[in-house]
Every structure is written in C-alpha cells, then in structure tokens.
Symmetry: C2
Subunit: 237 residues, 2 copies
DNA sequence: CGACTCATTGAGTCATATCAATTGTCGTGG
DNA sequence: CCACGACAATTGATATGACTCAATGAGTCG
C-alpha cells in the first residue's frame, strides 16, 4: 500500500521503482498538530519543507482589520512550501484547520532529488503547477460565481482531490462555517445562508457539523464544474 | 541598455555575465500581435514559450454563459507559459488586451538553460513563484475588498510592476472598462461606477481612456496596499 | 479525605431575523 | 465604448437565542 504522497505524485505519470522508494523514504517521523494551529507564519524565513499526511491545512493571510482570507486548502499529500525557498520570506501563513499529521522534510532531501532523480523532480514540479491551476480556478470561482455555486464548486473540487489520493471514504468535510466563509470570501452569516439553501435543495447534507454530498453529479451540474484544471487525466508531458 | 526580460530576471538577484548574454539572446525575432487577439487557446497542447516584450496580455477563462474572468495580467518581461509544458494541455487561454510585441522562444532553449545555467534557471523559477504570489494576492483582493479598493489595489500593483522593469514613463494604463470588469470580477456598469468614484475623489485621473495616478501614495493608503507579495526587495535565497 | 455526580458558567458555533450596503440587471442616450 | 438612472438581487452588519462542550466548583457518598 502506497502512502498519500506516492499516490499523489503518481497522478503526474509513472515513476521508476527507485524514485518511488525515495518518496516512501521521505515520509518519516510524522508529528501531530492540533486544529487551528500555525505551521508557518507570514514573514518567516523559509526552512524545512512541510507535507500534510492527514487532516486539512490552509494558506491564509490576515488583513489589517483582522479578517482572514484562505487562499488554498492543503489536503493529504500536499506540500506546504515546496518551492518557496527561492523567495526569501513567506508572504502568507500556513495553519491547520482540523487536526493534522505533518511531516518535516529537510530541504537537502529535496535538493538531492532535484539533482539525482529527474522523473521525481518532474512530478514535484507537476504538483506546484496544479496548485497554481487550482488558484486560478478559485479566482474565477470567486469573481464570477454566486456564493452558493461557489461553495458547490469548491465541494466538487475537494471531493475529486481527496478521491485522487485515495481519501474518499464517504467524503465528509468537517469545517466550521467561519472557515468556509474565509474560503469563499463571504461572511459567516452568509455562509450559513447558502449552506441552508444547498441543504434544502438536497445538494448537500449536514450532520454533526460534517458536510456530505449525497449526489455528486447533481452538485457538479449545479456548480457547472469542469475538472480539467485539476489535470488528473495523466496526460502529462 | 538591458531588455525588459533581463531587467525582470535581475530582480531575483544578480546574474553572471554569461547568463545575461543568454537572456539577451533569447529575445529575438519579436512579432506584433493586435489587441484582443488570442496567443494561446484553452485546450491547446503546449508548444513554444511566449514572452511579452511590449503591451499588455492576460490569462483568462470563459464561463459557459460567455462571461470572462481574467486571472493574470502579463506585462513586459512576463512569460505566458514558461512551465506549463509539464501539464499536458492549457487549462486557460492567453490573449492580448492591448497591441503587443511577443517573442516566441523554442522550448529547447529553455531546456538548455535548465541544463547549463543554474543561476538563470533559479531566476526563471523565481518568476513563476512571484506569479503565484500575485495570484494569491488577487484572491485576497477579490474575496475581501470592495470593488473600489480592489481597483485601487490593482492599480498600485501594476504601477509597481511596470516600474520594476523600467516601464513607468508616467504610468498610464489603457484598458477598457470591460477589461477592468473582467479583471475585478464585476460588471462593466459597476466598473464605470467605481471608476467615477475614484476619479471624483482625485485618486485616479482619466483622459482619453487612459488611467493615470496623480498621487500614488494616496492610492496606496486607500487600497491598504502592501507590496511584500511582489518580492521586489532582492532578498531572494 | 477522596471520588463521584451534577449544576453553573462561558466560549464557540449554529440558526434566524432585520436592515443597510454593495453589486447586478436592464434600459437609454451620447 | 462610455455615462447614467432606476430597480432588483446578492451580500454584509448587527443582534438575538439555542445549542454543544469543556471547565469549574459545590455538594454527596464511599
């Protein structure tokens, strides 16, 4: 059974046995981090590379007035700061939303991969490009879709991303309404409103603060969701 | 006098003479492209690399209902698709907003740089990371700022980015209200409204469809603009 | 005295209502 | 393509009450 990171990297295309072994070796000494805890703060110098093994983390910024904006969700298999070392400092913070398992990877391990394992390097590169593509789609989502469709679109994406690394298991998302509001760029009150709407329409179900999707196809239709931006079709290269 | 690309790459840090010469060599056989013309279409396989020498281009997507979302502005010195070759296909289109001068760079030239010129490779990498940082800031901008402040913030960014590559010359931006609306995720009518508002407050001036900024400091204050995300301080590494 | 129950409290979250601000839609004319 | 007006829809601001859950501390029983 492969770990999440291997599963994710294989989405970019096949990897030689040797490289896969290297990947498996990277995931060592995981540590647990509580929910709502910063992993990296804005302004920090860039040090180790962090990988999410379990749970949900996010990139975020705080505005002068205290409001928060979440710019990316980091799911199992996602790197927090693979390449930010090139930039001198972090221009945003990274924190957990739920309890997480994190692996710290020494930057030298990455450097060695870049030197000695071209196929694996390519896979890592692929990851960062997909992250960027997701960011672009979020921008479209935020700019051109109403909050209810935006949430639907977002849920479709997370559903697919979790499935891609083998973490579907029924797909239940456990985020507070405040977190969802910060994700969608709306207020918590409005988040409540649109969630109530989607629930009434049977597009989502909520029990015990967990969101589930009874009919993913219906939700995709509602959101006008097209998944090409996630580049999961393995047509890399 | 260095060309725009050299100026931009030097923002990442110093480069050896040899690498600078390579950069200068890249910029050959520029061609002119009319305003509102696609350079690359969504779904296209990835081929040559394109570089903007003059004018303004953008990344954009079209929604099923025909609305457009502009996700990035490509200014002189910006690459259109430096690294997208890793992904099999373009998930968005790239088109000109104003008339542009474009250089087509064979992908092999990039491959050679990656093989033989580590400092230059690092500079190219820096470019893509800054692009991503800008994308994140746009997401914050769109999610958490009112349209007028959002426009102000956007103008501050363009001002700085043009200045960084030596293209300030008074800073006049010549975009239609529709383009600005597609940039900010609003309607053209609303774009008209907020532009009228900023003009009334003396924060921008418009003449002959060109936006100018009489007092950049006042605009920065209004937008609560912080420029750290552009990583122009040369503290790379 | 120690272990246990069980109100009380307070923080955090969710649900809902009302009113206001922002933004979209449509239409008209320059 | 820009300007502007009138009206509608979406979203924000503010307030209130219900609910959960953990922490606290008083009281009870062994």
């Amino acid at each position: 059974m492969l770990n999440v990171l291997s599963r994710k990297l294989l989405l970019a295309g096949p990897l030689p046995e040797e490289d896969l072994a290297v990947v498996e070796g990277l995931v060592a000494n995981p540590r647990t981090v509580q929910a709502r805890t910063d992993i990296i703060d804005r302004g920090d110098p860039t040090s180790n590379v962090h990988l999410v093994l379990e749970g949900i983390a996010c990139r975020y910024k705080l505005l002068p007035d205290g409001r928060r904006s979440i710019m990316a969700l980091l799911l199992p298999g996602d790197f927090c700061d693979l390449n930010v070392a090139i930039l001198g400092h972090m221009d945003h913070a990274i924190g957990t939303l739920t309890a997480c398992t994190i692996v710290d990877i020494p930057r030298e391990a990455i450097d060695e991969i870049v030197e000695k394992h071209p196929p694996l390097t390519r896979a890592l590169w692929w990851c960062t490009l997909v992250d960027e593509a997701v960011l672009r789609e979020w921008l479209v989502n935020m700019g051109r879709r109403r909050a209810d469709r935006q949430l639907a679109h977002f849920l479709c994406e997370i559903h697919l991303r979790l499935e891609a690394v083998g973490r579907r298991d029924g797909f239940h998302l456990s985020l507070t309404q405040e977190m969802i509001a910060d994700l969608l760029g709306i207020t918590t009150v409005h988040a409540q409103r649109i969630m109530a709407g989607l629930r009434q329409d049977g597009l989502i179900a909520i029990e015990d603060r967990k969101i589930t999707v009874p009919d993913i196809e219906a939700l995709r239709d509602f959101a006008e969701f097209e998944d090409d931006y996630l580049h999961l079709n393995g047509s890399a290269g």
